[in-house]
């Protein structure tokens, strides 16, 4: 790998990466500052409503401490500085929803659930959708594949929420095959034995199915379109003229080339896919960031929402960077100038 390549390809992307994170998190900092409600006052009110008596001096101390905790002390510039210092230590403040648990702890518990669901379903839907879409695009006249396309035409426009809801109604109420909610049976402890894993799988199956089918439909259709264009490319026609075995043409000539724009497409859609995963989690009360977000919105817990948003932005931009860096390995035209 030459130095010019590193310079021309890697460096701009790294710069962009940091710039986006910086701007995104700054936005996350500023937006809640415009909130009409003051979280400190709300916390005090909440505590009062639980029936404790607080004398004015204590209240004033609490206000100061809370201001400190919520990062609201000092001028905006000072707040901004404190905010960044804390972000680097992963301190997103205290949650209102589960006062006084730190936001980062809540996120830490929920994150593995979301990440595992997200990564698994994204990879599955991408690979399956692309392969079937590629085959469908090549054998455009095959009846089975055309029915698949018709099915995809019906599934694809569904928003994540509606589709997840439909699956929920169908499989948990009507058919009663799967549990209604949660990640595991209530009260179960995390343990790495077969029992636990099966239980997790049973609970995760429907949200995963929802994401894989919906995502798969999208990759299927976009791949089919790309392949239809690639079919007309000179090198595919040539391979056919040369009598190369059809299976090899489909995989090494058509799909291998059509995959490349799909990799870029994956990088671009990660934001949407993550949003969709969070929404799906809400429908199934799956114990990931989605459900956490739901509770945060209901209780007006700005810190928690900010934390989730910041982590999400970080996760997505990092994944995009990784994909960007891996792309040259797959497209020799980029690697060798």
């Amino acid at each position: 790998m030459t130095f010019t390549f590193v310079r021309r390809y890697f460096i701009p992307r790294l710069i962009q990466y940091f710039l986006v994170i910086f701007l995104g998190i700054t936005a996350v900092f500023f937006i809640p500052r415009f909130a009409p409600t003051d979280p400190v006052q709300r916390t005090i009110a909440e505590l009062r409503s639980r029936g404790t008596y607080l004398d004015p001096a204590t209240v004033q101390n609490m206000i100061d401490d809370l201001r400190e905790l919520y990062g609201l002390g000092g001028s905006w510039l000072e707040q901004y500085g404190t905010f960044w210092k804390r972000v680097f230590t992963g301190d997103f403040g205290i949650s209102f929803f589960q006062f006084p648990t730190p936001v980062i702890d809540l996120i830490r518990t929920a994150l593995p659930w979301t990440l595992s669901l997200l990564i698994l379903t994204t990879m599955l839907s991408w690979v399956i959708g692309n392969v079937i879409g590629g085959v469908a695009g090549y054998f455009a006249r095959n009846r089975w594949l055309r029915t698949l396309d018709a099915i995809a035409m019906v599934i694809r426009p569904m928003p994540y929420y509606i589709f997840a809801l439909a699956l929920l109604i169908l499989f948990t109420y009507v058919l009663r095959w799967f549990p209604i909610a949660g990640g595991t049976a209530v009260g179960r402890k995390v343990a790495f034995n077969l029992d636990f894993i099966l239980d997790v799988l049973r609970h995760a199956f429907l949200p995963a199915l929802s994401l894989v089918i919906l995502g798969g439909a999208i990759w299927f259709q976009t791949m089919k379109l790309i392949v239809q264009n690639i079919n007309a490319e000179d090198f595919v026609q040539y391979a056919q003229l040369g009598g190369i075995k059809e299976r090899r043409i489909v995989f090494r000539y058509v799909i291998r080339n059509a995959m490349l724009p799909q990799i870029t497409g994956l990088a671009l859609s990660l934001g949407q896919i993550l949003s969709g995963a969070l929404i799906t989690e809400i429908v199934f009360s799956y114990p990931g960031l989605g459900t956490l977000l739901f509770h945060a919105i209901i209780t007006g817990d700005y810190n928690l929402i900010m934390g989730i948003t910041a982590i999400s932005i970080l996760a997505i931009t990092t994944m995009i960077l990784v994909i960007d860096l891996l792309y040259p390995l797959l497209d020799p035209r980029v690697k060798y100038r």
Binding site: D234, F235, Q237, G242, R333
Partner: protein, 333 residues
């Protein structure tokens, strides 16, 4: 001995543009006989149907192109094979082993994401079973070297090579399995003259080594002069003249051919060049009778009514022109 014959070949493009059907008569009843151990050239202007003819002869017809009528025979081991009656798999097996195709724009026909040695291996594996990776690579390298190309290009990706080099790689690829017939569609177009020479040498070299047949399609008469033994002239989907190369250049009989030859510059000749007046007809809207009659200086009444037959007028020189029958006197006068 003929190695490929075409009988009354008709192949049209049937298009449906916004509700109206349009038929492009690209190959409009062609009869051909191509012999072994020769280089046969097909000449004509752009859009006269040369590439479609090659596709029809190669039996590579996909909608909207259709075979309307006619048959194509390959002769293999003294046996005639009706190509259009073969199954898809039988056709596939013939390809590359018996007959190979170098398409137009050969510079962009290589799979951009795999190395050249992999491409060669794909062609090899699809027709010859049981070669290990190393055996395939050795065969390929030997083949490349024999044709005068450097072996290190096999480790390259297509975009790393120049257009001319890719062209030669594609030609060498066509010769890989030593086919009896090779089709070359405009192999020298869009290349500079030095590279053109390299391509011409390569084709000549292959033909000499393998002793096979090359069908060369190009509008460049200079290439025909350099390479071919016989030439067939196409006009508006029909074969209008066919003869030995020397005959075509020195004693062409069809008015169109005469215009074609006369328009070529010669050394030392500073006079003005004259080409056929008007332009080639649209293949959708062909004139009646002989398609050349609107531009022909000798056109008679019969030329507007009937298409002349493709007749042998001696010395294996075939022409499709009413002049041969009716007008010998007319020319004289």
């Amino acid at each position: 001995m003929s190695v490929l014959t075409a009988e009354k070949l008709k192949s049209f493009y049937v298009l449906d543009i916004l509700g109206a059907e349009k038929v492009v008569k690209a190959v409009n009843e062609v009869n051909l006989e191509i012999r072994e151990n020769e280089i046969y050239g097909i000449a004509g202007e752009s859009g006269c149907g040369k590439t479609t003819l090659l596709k029809a002869l190669y039996a590579s017809i996909e909608p909207p192109l259709r075979l309307i009528s006619g048959r194509v025979f390959y002769v293999r081991d003294s046996q005639e094979i009706d190509v259009y009656s073969l199954s898809k798999e039988e056709k596939r097996r013939l390809r590359w082993e018996y007959i190979a195709y170098i398409p137009q724009g050969a510079m962009s026909v290589l799979n951009p994401v795999i190395k050249l040695k992999q491409t060669y291996r794909d062609f090899l594996d699809s027709h010859v079973a049981g070669k290990t990776k190393k055996e395939a690579f050795d065969m390929t390298r030997e083949h490349i070297n024999k044709l005068g190309l450097p072996a290190k290009i096999l480790d390259a990706y297509p975009h790393q090579l120049s257009g001319g080099m890719r062209q030669r790689v594609t030609i060498a690829l066509a010769a890989l399995l030593k086919p009896r017939i090779m089709f070359a569609d405009e192999p020298t177009t869009a290349l500079d003259v030095v590279v053109q020479r390299g391509v011409i040498q390569l084709l000549k070299g292959i033909q000499e080594i393998l002793g096979n047949t090359i069908v060369l399609v190009t509008h460049d008469m200079g290439v025909h002069a350099n390479l071919t033994d016989r030439i067939g002239i196409m006009y508006a989907g029909k074969m209008i003249e066919e003869a030995k190369t020397e005959e075509i250049f020195g004693n062409s009989l069809h008015p169109y051919t005469q215009y074609l030859i006369n328009s070529l510059p010669k050394f030392g000749d500073k006079g003005s060049r004259e080409s056929a007046p008007g332009s080639p007809p649209s293949l959708v809207d062909l004139p009646s009778g002989c398609p050349f009659h609107p531009r022909c200086p000798y056109a008679f009444d019969i030329c507007t009514e009937q298409m002349p037959e493709f007749l042998d007028v001696g010395n294996h020189h075939k022409v499709a022109c009413w002049l041969m029958k009716e007008g010998k006197d007319a020319i004289a006068s």
